[in-house]
């Protein structure tokens, strides 16, 4: 059983499994991958990479989507 690591998701601290991928995180959060953009440590990920990129301790993940609004 992999140990838990500490990461940051959308500015908030969160624990996750040491061998979790970005895809695992999205599934854990019940976030559908359509129309969602993910930034990992300021790098914008292609959705094809979600299940390939593993999370490490201290990683900063930003998960964004479209909402109503303009300036």
């Amino acid at each position: 059983m992999a140990e838990a690591i500490q990461i940051q998701v959308n500015g908030e601290p969160r624990g996750c499994r040491a061998d979790a991928t970005v895809g695992d995180l999205l599934r854990e959060l019940s976030i559908k991958t359509e129309r969602v953009a993910v930034e990992l440590n300021l790098e914008i990920l292609d959705r094809k990479e979600f299940d390939l990129r593993s999370l490490k301790s201290g990683d900063r993940v930003e998960i964004l989507s479209f909402i109503g609004g303009g300036s």
Partner: protein
């Protein structure tokens, strides 16, 4: 009007009214207003997903991306770096290469920082984005945006949300004559006559958000705007009479007693 399609960056639109999605009471109202407006293009902002409250609904559950063209914007960006980041994130969300580029200069007026806008537009065009830039009513800046590769220009009528209507019709008319790409009047529209006037001046489309969402009856105002844009466009294409200082009688003198 069949055949009067608006073509921007390879996209073809029937409706010349573009609408925003902010400031509504709830998603149900947003959906009804957009339907009433007849708009094809709907602008959205790019923001963090709410991970703490997963029961919260999603805008795109109400606005079908297959029925509408979703146009993400870089709302709230006050510098080039932020605008680029949000534009790239919008594209990564996987809907299209379209981006409504806003680089704001000032919080009170929400006027564009045209220097930052030109810089960001140049970079995004090079990266293959279809850039629809929110700009001011300066024809020189408008032409520079076209030279950079923007397929259209979106000059403001008045400050965002101000409802003041078209502050400088003369500059807008100059832009429409000098700049050879579609012109979408964006920001500041207050009521139906403002939208009609924009189209009568020669605008190719009008974008609005607050004028509809902030109206006392948004659904009714959305419908009004639909007709206003249609009426203004028809009037423009029909070719108005000139303005004259003196009267010109409508009936002949011949045959009078």
């Amino acid at each position: 009007m069949t055949g009067d399609r608006l073509i921007i960056g390879g996209y073809e639109f029937k409706s010349r009214l573009f609408v925003g999605t902010g400031k509504y009471k709830d998603f149900a109202e947003t959906k009804k207003a957009i339907e009433a407006s007849g708009a094809d293009v709907v602008t959205v902002a790019v923001r963090r997903v709410n991970i703490t409250d997963r029961s919260k609904e999603n805008l795109l559950d109400y606005i079908d991306p297959n029925k509408y063209t979703i146009l993400p914007n870089t709302a709230g960006c006050y510098n080039v770096e932020d605008a680029l980041r949000y534009a790239r994130l919008a594209r990564a969300a996987g809907v299209s290469d379209l981006i409504k580029l806003e680089v704001l200069g000032d919080e009170r007026t929400l006027f564009p920082d045209t220097v930052g806008l030109l810089e960001a537009a140049k970079i995004l065009v090079k990266e293959g984005f279809i850039v629809l830039p929110y700009t001011n009513d300066d024809p020189i800046v408008a032409q520079k945006l076209v030279d950079i590769g923007c397929p259209c220009v979106m000059p403001l009528a008045a400050p965002i949300g101000s409802g003041l209507g078209i502050r400088n019709p003369y500059n807008l008319k100059i832009i429409m004559e000098m700049v050879k790409v579609p012109i979408i009047v964006d920001a500041g529209v207050g009521t139906a006559s403002d939208a009609a006037l924009a189209m009568e001046l020669g605008a190719d489309a009008v974008l609005m958000n607050t004028a509809i969402a902030g109206a006392q009856d948004p659904i009714a105002m959305a419908e009004a705007m639909k007709y206003a844009v249609l009426a203004g466009r028809l009037a423009y294409k029909a070719g108005r009479i000139p303005r004259k200082l003196y009267a010109t009688a409508s009936s002949p003198i011949e045959g009078m007693l």
